[in-house]
Symmetry: C2
DNA sequence: TTCTTTAATGAAAAAGATTATCATTATCGA
DNA sequence: TCGATAATGATAATCTTTTTCATTAAAGAA
């Protein structure tokens, strides 16, 4: 499972070790699941999926590992307003690159979008620079989300 | 307490009634507290504050009322990543107007900023228009947040 | 003003997500 | 291969938020 295909070890191999963490089977299984989905699974959803190939894993380990990966910058943690945290691999072969989310408040559907990202980045850069200076704030990250109703929920 | 000063009933009076809700003492007390703070209190913090002037109020009512006010568009609900929801009056005399937040991941401090808002609004408008069309998504709201370290946490 | 309807409230319990505890296991450098 | 110790998993605990249900009170009608 550690090898994604025949071309070598997964990209996260070095990252994990680089941070001084051990590369364990549960961690690899979790990363494997995250790298194969285009959804935004909650901790429990990750657990259920990992459990299929690694039944010995506990929910606690999933929570711990996800938090570790967030700290290591390998995973993003989101709140879409449904009372549980949701996770997404920050980079990888299958990833669509930097993007933001449309959140349907009707059905909870999440749409990843990359449109207008360049303009956003441009504005964010300027804003970050200005805010850093004015408030002496070292900005590390940003979050942009749109809320509304998706096609289905809108026509109901 | 329903009257903020001598100039008449608070602005929310009509809003509450307009939505078909009853104007009760607990609701007025909660709105009163929200209108007097520039912080971003959690439900419990609102409860503790309201409790000072209205000791009979229950935490349940605070949760219910805040949710109602969010639904009515009179209050915004935020997640700053500390595991509890935080609330803010959406408009009012004391309000600084449309703004976004800088979130310090070190100490949890929140800075409201209005800088660059015009440019942000401009971009958001264009983005909203484009996304609405492309994904048939009716956008109702947006969220922008910056995460990082405030002056104090940065120099530690 | 008094009455009546029904929304709103509060106490307590329940639910749901996440975290702490601790004995056991497994990684990985020496 | 061995040993130090990081990581794990089961369980219990914590914490926020929601549900339940009997009681109270707001506001229009009489």
């Amino acid at each position: 499972m550690p090898w994604r295909d025949g071309t070598g070890p997964p990209w996260w191999h070095g990252k994990i070790k680089g941070c001084g963490y051990r590369l364990t089977a549960p961690r690899q299984a979790i990363l494997d699941v995250l790298s194969k989905t285009s959804k935004h699974p909650s901790a429990e959803e990750v657990y259920l999926e990992v459990h299929k190939v690694y039944p010995a894993i506990g929910l606690t380990t999933v929570y711990r590992t996800l938090e570790l990966l967030v700290q290591a910058g390998m995973v993003y943690k989101f709140d879409f307003g449904d009372g549980r945290a949701r996770y997404e691999l920050s980079e990888g072969p299958k990833n669509i690159g930097h993007h933001h989310h449309l959140v349907c408040t009707g059905c909870g559907r999440i749409i990843d979008y990359t449109d207008f990202i360049d303009e956003e980045i441009e504005l964010l850069k300027r804003t970050e620079k200005g805010l850093s200076k004015k408030y002496n704030f070292r900005i590390k990250n940003h979050l942009i989300q749109f809320y509304g109703l998706c096609e289905k929920c809108n026509t109901k």
